[in-house]
Amino acid sequence: MTSRSSRTTLTVNGRERTLTVDNRRVLLDLLREDLDLTGAKKGCDHGQCGACTVLVDGRRMNSCLLLAVALEGSEVTTVEGLAGPDGEPHPLQRAFLERDAFQCGYCTPGQLCSAVGVLAEAAAGHPSAVTGPEAEAGEPTPLGAAEIRERMSGNLCRCGAYPRIVEAVEDVVP
């Protein structure tokens, strides 16, 4: 197909959506403008702040840099989709509340989606820049504070809630 808009189907927070989108539309704008899911935030629009972080096929990514048309068939989870089926907030959402791990709240949805991704990546044995050489490939990586800090560094928080964010993530590390 070669036209300036495309039909694309993706699953967002468990619901299948088929839309005709401008080829230029990025996932972030699709979520916010087409689906009125404004939880993912536009902080920089260039992959430099992390406020737009969502999960695509279970992996955290900057939705501002993903062309919607290229996501055909993907499963997207946004902050609106983190809660359980009964509406019960995700343990990370509870931990963020309890730890006061935010102030203005604008980076928070991205921090939460990113943290969900971090937990999955560590469980899958993905290393980070601070993982020691002794870590066994293929084994889950233990998430201490230094690991969490490094792994959460793609999410800027200008209110400076970082120490509380680390505590909140630590609270839910298995």
Binding site: K42, G43, H46, D100, C104, G154, N155, V166
Partner: protein
């Protein structure tokens, strides 16, 4: 009245917290109004000159583009008090990045494409953006920001300095800094039958409404501005910014609701920044460490658009006893973007310089830097001669020293080495004035036993909603969950902005007053409440703005430990600890977040943040978040905030001094002094990035080699 445990002083969870962690909280351009159009600005490509011609034909040919506003066709507005808001009103380009056109389109993609297609021809003039300490055109302003006199002098500062047995004469530079709240400056505007409705990412919508009403020449009652949730501001959203004016103009011009979020790259030029400050500090002291002469002279810039002078010499008027002093500002008007408020304007760069000089003085005296500050403590404000309403700087220093483990510190620099990493510790004081403004508020008792408190406060992340709920609950003697708080809407009782660490004091005073009146009325009320309830109104005009016989300031002490990698020049903060005396702490949970957040911003100022005015082009070279380095999580280790409860009767009914800004104030100086303690090298220019650090370390090495 039901008895309820006191809410003030308890760590109540944020009222809007669940909305924020679930994504339900809506910010300024997240309101899907029917027919919404999207706008994109066109920034000027020259630093000085005029717009000769705008050719919008290519932009208008872009599918989906609805309109291109320029100075030739944009609605004419009444002249605003703040000239940075007079956008698209004439052909003048006062600095690079000034908005010269605005494209409105059906979609954000079309608006961006259209903006790229607008062809603007300029008549450029030579520009000058270089600030030097000896610019002949720099002048002493009558007033610096905050209404502070540009120059204050007591006694004979030069003579006293010259005759002091111990002297420090030193210079510091703080580069331009950007607020960069995570939510960019953004507004949605809609006109309906002559009424303007706007959602605006602002620290105070009462002022936004007044400004829009005046500029669009409509009655204030015809304007509503909402800011239910605001993604940070740090001063840059304290006054209306061009986004809301442009959105309102575009909505008027197109007859459509219009959303405009300023692109991140355009923020540095359009929403204010902290201007470069060049400091010269001279401290003359006796052998006992007591300061005899304090001279702090600051050179800074403002734009051609308006005079804004970072009041960086002001802290020297408050901090330490100094019989002879001069605190002075000089400002040069350059072809630069207009500077404005950024968290603790004045105190932040000013205390970096003054407190760094105090560390140098301590070294010159061979005195512990904590003790130097203690011997220079005072109970009367040096500049005004007024007694302090409360001042617990010494207690903060002592408590901080105890918690940090300062005792037994080897003052000699360069002694703690592990491999290639040198470690050191440093201390600095902090201060921030107690500001408060008149506010109004209403409190209503409803027949179902609940209360509704309304005040146009703004919660920019401070927890204002939550704390005002606590203030109201206490004054009403009701549990917090029976009190509903409405804020963030200019139709609510008028209130001042969230700025100057004054929000809680100002709004809280009016809320307290309204609730106390309501409680008194209810205490004698007979029978059941009418359907609409009972309401009391408060207006603190005349109270909140009454002068005081006291000098009112919060104080604090910062301690830092840093590690310096001598191979790579990387500096890492290992520990930050702050102790504050800021009156009564109303909510420990949100207060701690604010203190810590200020310290993190101070850490950024010390280590990572800095912007460069490009002499050739006249704008900032670091305009996005990849180039301008806001600290990331990995930069921020253990950060502790503690406080000393103060019972100060000279403040306001809630007893708080304001906590939003003091956390940033002394952090950079503490880090800088810790760097010196680690390495023996004085760095007098921020930030302490590897390039500068390596250069400084190698100069030291060369000097040792020569010696």
């Amino acid at each position: 009245m039901p008895d309820a445990p006191a809410a003030l002083g308890t760590p109540v969870v944020r009222r809007e917290g669940l909305d924020k962690v679930t994504g339900r909280a809506r910010y300024a351009v997240e309101h899907r109004l029917p027919g919404l159009a999207h706008a994109w600005p066109v920034p000027a490509r020259v630093a000085c000159g005029r717009v000769e011609r705008v050719d919008a034909s290519a932009a208008l040919a872009v599918p989906g583009v609805l309109a291109v506003l320029t100075h030739e066709n944009a609605p004419r507005l009444a002249e605003p008090d703040d000239p940075t808001l007079a956008v698209l009103q004439d052909d003048r380009v006062p600095h690079r990045g000034w908005v010269v056109a605005l494209v409105v389109a059906e979609t954000p993609e079309a608006a961006r494409e259209g903006a790229g297609a607008v062809d603007v021809a300029y008549l450029p003039l030579d520009h000058d953006v270089l600030l030097t300490p000896d610019r002949p055109d720099a002048y002493v302003p009558e007033k610096a920001n905050g209404g502070h006199p540009g120059l204050r002098e007591h006694g004979d500062p030069d003579g006293a300095y010259a005759s002091s047995p111990v002297r420090v004469d030193t210079a510091y530079r703080v580069p331009p800094l950007h607020n960069h709240p995570m939510e960019p400056h953004a507004s949605t505007a809609r006109w309906t039958d002559g009424r303007l409705e706007a959602y605006c990412s602002s620290q105070g919508t009462t002022t936004v409404r007044q400004t829009l009403a005046a500029m669009f020449e409509v009655p204030e009652e015809s304007v509503t501005v909402r800011a239910e949730h605001v993604g940070g501001g740090f001063g840059s959203k304290g006054t209306p910014r061009p986004d809301v004016v442009l959105a309102a103009m575009a909505a008027l011009h197109t007859g459509r609701p219009v959303a405009l979020a300023l692109p991140r790259r355009d923020l540095p030029a359009l929403v204010g920044h902290r201007a470069t400050t060049l400091h010269r500090v001279r401290l003359g002291a006796g052998e006992d460490g007591r300061i005899r002469s304090l001279v702090h002279e600051v050179t800074t810039y403002s734009s051609r658009v308006k005079e804004f002078v970072e009041q960086a010499a002001v802290p020297g008027r408050t901090m330490y006893t100094a019989p002879h002093s001069r605190t002075a500002h000089r400002v040069a008007r350059l072809d630069v973007p207009t500077p404005s408020w950024m968290r603790a304007p004045g105190e932040t760069p000013g205390m970096y310089a003054l407190e760094s000089a105090m560390d140098e003085l301590a070294e010159a005296l061979g005195m512990d830097p904590v003790e130097l500050r203690v011997v220079n403590d005072c109970d009367v404000e040096p500049d005004t001669g007024k007694p302090f309403s409360s001042r617990h700087l010494v207690e903060c220093l002592r408590e901080g020293a105890r918690r940090f483990g300062w005792e037994g510190r080897d003052p000699r620099p360069g002694r703690r080495r592990a491999g290639q990493v040198l470690t050191g510790t440093g201390v600095a004081s902090a201060t921030y004035p107690v500001l408060v403004s008149p506010s109004t508020a209403t409190a209503r008792a409803l027949p179902d036993g609940t209360f509704l408190v309304r005040v146009n406060a703004t919660d920019i992340g401070t927890g204002a909603r939550t704390v005002l709920g606590q203030v109201a609950a206490d004054a009403l003697g009701a549990p917090g969950d029976r009190v509903r708080i409405e804020i963030g809407d200019s139709d609510l009782p008028a209130a001042p902005l969230a700025g100057g660490s004054s929000g809680t004091a100002s709004w809280g005073w009016a809320v307290h007053e309204a609730c106390v009146r309501l409680a008194r009325r209810l205490a004698v009320y007979q029978g059941s409440l009418p359907h609409e309830g009972l309401e009391e109104h408060a207006d603190t005009t005349g109270l909140a703005d009454a002068g005081s016989d006291h000098a009112r300031h919060a104080f604090g002490a910062h301690f830092a430990e840093v590690g310096v990698d001598t191979v790579t020049g990387e500096v890492r903060v290992n520990r930050l600890l702050g102790v504050y005396a800021a009156g009564r702490i109303l909510n420990p949970r949100t207060a701690r977040s604010q203190f810590v957040g200020g310290m993190v911003m101070g850490l950024g100022m010390a280590l990572t943040e800095g912007s460069t005015l490009d002499p050739a082009f006249g704008d900032f070279a670091e305009r996005d978040l990849a180039a301008y380095h806001v600290p990331v999580n990995a930069d921020v280790p253990s950060v502790e905030a503690h406080w000393i409860e103060e019972d100060d009767p000279h403040l306001n009914p809630t007893g708080g001094k304001g906590i939003g800004e003091i956390g940033v104030v002394g952090t950079a100086a503490a880090v800088g002094s810790a760097f010196h303690h680690a390495t023996g090298v004085r760095m007098r220019e921020l930030p302490l990035t590897p390039d500068r650090v390596l250069e400084a370390l190698s100069e030291q090495g060369a000097a040792h080699h020569r010696a």
